[in-house]
Amino acid sequence: MKLKSLIRTEKREAPPDEEHGYKMKRLVVKGARVLDPATGLDAKLNIIAMGGRFASIRPPHEDDNYEGAEWDVVEAEGLLVVPGLIDIHTHLREPGFEYKEDIESGAKAAAAGGFTTILCMANTEPVNDSASVTRLITKRAAAVSPIKVLPIGALTKGLEGRALSEMGELKDAGCVAFSDDGMPVKDPAIMRRALEYSTSLNLPVISHAEEPALTGGGVMNEGVVSTRMGLKGIPNASEDVMVARDIALAELTGARLHIAHVSTRGAVDLIRAAKARGAKVTCEAAPHHLTLDHGAVVGYDTFAKMSPPLRAEEDIAALHAALKDGTIDAIATDHAPHSSIEKDVEFDAAANGIVGLETALGLTLGLVGDGIISLAQAVTLLTSGPARAMGINSGTLKIGASADMTIIDPDMEWVVEPEKFLSKSRNTPYGGRAMKGRAIRTIVGGETVYEMSAEG
């Protein structure tokens, strides 16, 4: 089946009404299975939005009347409706690396993947370590993005790990978290200060937990495969010692610490224990760390090169267990677009990372299909879980809240075709992979921002 994606960003005019001027825009999504684990909702319901906000969620009734020009009716019989998906870890590359991705293409790719809100990391050029860069991102997003784009500010100036960024000003400009993602904060004293300072702003600090001295030029997971391939390995300990350090510092300072892209069994054990002690620690896992092991690197496939690296089977099993028991709060893509300039080179020279926005939901539903997590857990990990970790007031179908939702066809079988991505980049190891379940309509503030149409 050929799939064609349609993106609508333009606002549609509400129909004029002679008596009342403009009538409020109304949307009804009819007859779907509505699943919102945060509120315990799981039933066949109609969702009604007015003026871009959830107005009512109720069982279908024979007296229902959705006729009239003001109604936008979406027939969703047999489909699944969940709160709009949230990805708290993306790289949109604008400003500075627009040849890989920009805010518009990244946001459209996100909408096609079912996301209604994304957070974007600070490693742009210039780095998002000042209010002017933050404002540039938010203004640009307001102009071109069909979905909500929330910037993450740099934790330290220039991501250099030396001086704290002006975190207060960044927050005022619209940053919702702080991170030097991509660059670990080497100096523990700087990390301590950053965490301490963040508590006054009550925003989370996201740690890219990696001890650079132990990574030491490694390009893949250290293990049997790296030994065979003659590639320099990155030991699990590189992540584990940094997670341990940052948890200790979070407990010292009382700060909100979020560990990005956990990949090792050691890291999830440390986080589980910290949570049990009551530390304010949350974490995320990336779909690729849940579905691929280091064997994917065989053949020197640079699309399987990422940081942290794809790990061993035992690590994947530990991550699955941590998804199940709630140790992992969110699934986040670490969407990292790169062009052929960075990827079509020797493995040692290739950049880290893969695009993930357009495959994340399919891969997560794959975990459900494989019996690793329940559908409700999968939805939590993509909606209320990440929202809570970041302290964002969304991720659930709340009356009065912005009508953000994702309509999923849980039975749709499709094959990943990177050349059809809306992202500017194609760096994915999942090309050709068969998936089941896909976002077919993404709605933000009651407006359809993405609709998939099937063409035979």
Binding site: R228, G230, L231, G233, G299, F347, D348, A349, N427
Partner: protein
Amino acid sequence: MKLKRKDLLSIEELSVEEISFIIETARSFKRVNERDIKKVPTLRGKTVINLFYEPSTRTRTSFEIAAKRMSADAINISVSQSSVKKGETLKDTALNLEAMRPDCIVLRHASSGAPAMLAELLDCSVINAGDGMHEHPSQALLDMMTVLERFDSLEGLNITIVGDVSHSRVARSNIYGFNKLGANVTLCGPPTMIPHGIEEMGATVEYDLDRAIRGADVIMMLRIQLERDRVPLFPTAREYADRYGLNLKRLKGAKEGLLILHPGPINRGVEISPEVADGPYSLLIDQVTNGLAVRMALFYILIGGPSESEHEAEEPDSNGKERGTA
């Protein structure tokens, strides 16, 4: 017999039959090298490019002479790593070279997998002359050939490889090769030099050199890089020589008729004492002689066919994995 491949990228991918065939062919070329006139017209009109991204004297010279003895035109290109940083990519260099219609590119590169990348990209044959810490197949073939000149078979032989296995492409190729031919491989060195999971490649690990020597039929000493890592793998050269260096005193515990190999260049007094390097068991010079014959055989087998269109129709290398078009 002919190899069912256009490239030689690794020993891992070779079958026992292919290895035996290459060594057999090399034996006949060795006789050519003993003649007065050491040149055969076999590869007249063929072009070989030696593309070396790492400094090398021995291997590059060996490939060059091998090509010339076969009457091929051999061109050497040495690229320093520093110029690569500002210059063109390996892919672009390779595509440019291919446009000049060479029959074979011999590649040495610091990045593991670089020859596999080229092989996938190019129609001409690619020979891996050493890639990163991955493989150095022609070295392993000449090592196997050298041992087979002294033993009828490798079946059941005990072969000990001593040194920095972790960083050694020679060790990896030899672990595959010796194993395929039925030898028992033991690896010896300080734990900092023995990588994670190496046993699964088919080797036993022994940290004590005296024990590793006992019962060995062949010992291969690897060259020690004295300044490799930011974090050294051993305290001092003196301590290394003391614990892992091969000297006459150590060899007292060795088997009668023990053979000693070293891929060169050697650090006299570090991993091998001068008395041992120059001693009667040492096959270091035989290795160099056989290296030339092995490389002639490789050229003959890979590009000596009647027409070059023949291998174009063949399967691409089994090592190269399909990937997206980036």
